[in-house]
Amino acid sequence: MTVILGQTFTGISIGAVLLLIALGLSLTFGQMNVINMAHGEFIMAGAYTTYVLQKSISSAGISLLVALPVAFLVSGALGALLEWLLIRRLYLRPLDTLLVTWGVSLMLQQLARDLFGAPNVQTRAPDILTGNITLIGGDDPLTVANSRLFILGLAVAAVVALSLTLRLTPLGRRIRAVVQNRDLAEVSGISTSTVDRTAFFIGSGLAGVAGVALTLVGPIGPTMGTNVIIDAFLVIVVGGIGQLKGTVIVAFALGVLQSVLEYSTTVSVAKVLVLVGIVAFLQWRPQGLYTLRTRSLA
């Protein structure tokens, strides 16, 4: 029983990480149809931001909290720059963005190597986040890591913030308008290029936030982005492009699936099964879990 509960919690915590790394993509890929392979490197930029800030702020807790908004700005700015330099030329060729941003990703990795050295770097987590809380005591205790709870909280907060932004603010309405009908939005007086850049800023900024969170659970190094990028895209694809709720559900579902399979088989087998399962799922629902059904897409 403890095992099942424990693995469910583990799955949810894996899901929270997945959700956080995929959330920015739900905007740039899901809404804007840009396959940004450098998204992983924006996550990396967020992690390195934490590292740099810790050099000047000695308290691990404060530096982590400061890192969240700063990483959002740093990665967001990188994203906006990328959009302005390259992606705006490629909106009509979504598949080409994949290859172009792959080139960008190679360069950013090398840049990180030259700026911070090839080896991984270390950040200090606040002590409170390295512990755990016990849900069920006794001989076979069920514990949940504080770092995972923090990430879960952060992921939920980010989802709420993003969905409120999209729903309630004028910016959000403009983004949705542009996504749904670019020409109509343009003639209604919306500057589509500004909206594109802002949306890219937010999506990339969220990658930065994910990068800060990843410093609590994983390595901080030049290739950390490539480790997660495909998983992030799969979450969006399975969830359904342009569907925030699909992203959320699928992130947690994949997390739980992964953790249960990992427990009952091996990590490698679990990974293969999850990937094959995703392919099979897309046979069943080629447009993902939730789909936008409109006449224009028919």
């Binding site: 390259l86 030329r89 080139g103 990795q109 895209f233 990937l275 094959v276 995703i278």
Partner: protein, 364 residues
């Protein structure tokens, strides 16, 4: 009609030229080592021929060509490892890391050279046919198809790595000594392998050219540009795409199979997401829709990788990244479209024309 004639004349001249370069000039001017590298680039170019067909002509961004390359490569390498070990013996890595005392059942058919040779392209084609018939019938396309391909490539690589006792795991199959009885460390035989590779590449180009110029080739472009429209004409676009996908898979398989004697190794590192993207990028830089462009692009990008990394071992990825970005963002038709771009500029005074995104005309 005159145009067609002169075009096929030009194509024939191109073939002869390419054959002269590959069979006479290259062996004359290149050292054994560089010729060996060229053999490797030509294998990449074979994959690019398939990509030109599937992606350039059919619009299928196949980001999983590593899978088919790997299937072909492993099929060949398994046979060669069995042959190296000699009858009754296990391949070296199985003796070291495995627990089995005899060949696993799925290795056994590969002891037969004919089976192994046929498997190098039939196996990838069968897998592609199976996958494709599902994927295309369910109308998975565009970004979904691209990311799905990547997921498959990742899954295949992870699976191979996990089966160390029977696949060599991360190491892959290495230290391949002989090629159907001929010692691979003999430079003369290495050269022969190069000639075989060059000949197969030319053959594949000829095959792809025939396909592209056939009615099927025209239909494939039609599917790429407007799948719905083709469906209204009474075709099943899924079948049209499937043919291109399967042919491309077979070409990647052959490339993988020939890569093994040329380089002496096949490993999961050649199968995952990164190599699969690199296969596509070569074709894209050269010009995805043009056979000549895709082939030369693949060779050029592979060559640039070698040259840049030799010259700037610590900073070459900057140049590589920059090359991809510049070529793809600013020259969507690839280097092959440069000629078209120049011609357009010259003819700019003439009537206003709607610029085609990807030039179709100059195939092969």
């Amino acid at each position: 009609m005159n145009l067609l004639k002169s075009r096929s004349a030009r194509a024939a001249a191109g073939f002869v030229g390419a054959a002269v370069v590959l069979f006479a000039v290259a062996p004359l001017v290149l050292s054994d080592f560089r010729l060996g590298l060229l053999a490797k680039y030509l294998c990449v170019a074979m994959v690019a021929v398939g990509i030109c067909l599937a992606w350039g002509r059919g619009g299928l961004l196949t980001l999983g060509q590593g899978v088919f390359f790997g299937l072909g490569g492993y099929a060949m390498a398994m046979h060669l490892k069995i042959a190296d070990a000699g009858p009754g013996n296990l391949p070296d890595f199985m003796q070291l890391y495995g627990t089995a005392t005899e060949l696993p059942w799925w290795w056994q058919p590969f002891a037969n050279p004919v089976f192994a040779l046929a498997a190098t392209f039939l196996l990838p084609m069968a897998v592609a046919a199976l996958l494709g018939s599902f994927i295309f019938r369910r109308r998975v396309k565009g970004a979904y198809f691209a990311i799905l391909s990547q997921a498959l490539a990742a899954a295949f690589a992870i699976w191979l790595i996990g089966q160390q006792a029977t696949t060599g795991g991360t190491n892959g199959l290495t230290d391949i000594q002989g090629f159907f009885g001929y010692a691979l460390d003999d430079p003369v035989n290495q050269r022969t392998v190069y000639f075989i590779i060059a000949a197969v590449l030319l053959l594949l180009i000829a095959l792809a050219r025939q396909l592209i110029q056939s009615r099927y080739g025209e239909l494939l472009v039609a599917v790429r540009d407007s799948e719905e429209r083709v469906r209204f004409l009474g075709y099943d676009p899924a079948n049209v795409k499937l043919v291109a996908y399967v042919v491309a898979a077979g070409m990647a398989g052959l490339a993988g199979a020939l890569f093994v004697p040329a380089v002496g190794i096949i490993s999961p590192a050649l199968i995952g997401i990164v190599p699969s993207i690199e296969f596509v990028i070569g074709a894209a830089v050269g010009g995805r829709a043009s056979l000549v462009g895709a082939v030369l692009g693949a060779i050029a990008v592979a060559w640039a990788k070698t040259a840049l990394s030799e010259e700037f071992p610590a900073a070459w990825t900057y140049f590589q990244g920059l090359l991809f970005i510049v070529a793809l963002a600013f020259l969507p038709g690839g280097l092959a479209s440069l000629a078209t771009v120049v011609r357009r500029r010259r003819a700019a005074a003439a009537a206003e024309k709607k610029a085609a995104v990807i030039p179709v005309g100059e195939a092969a």
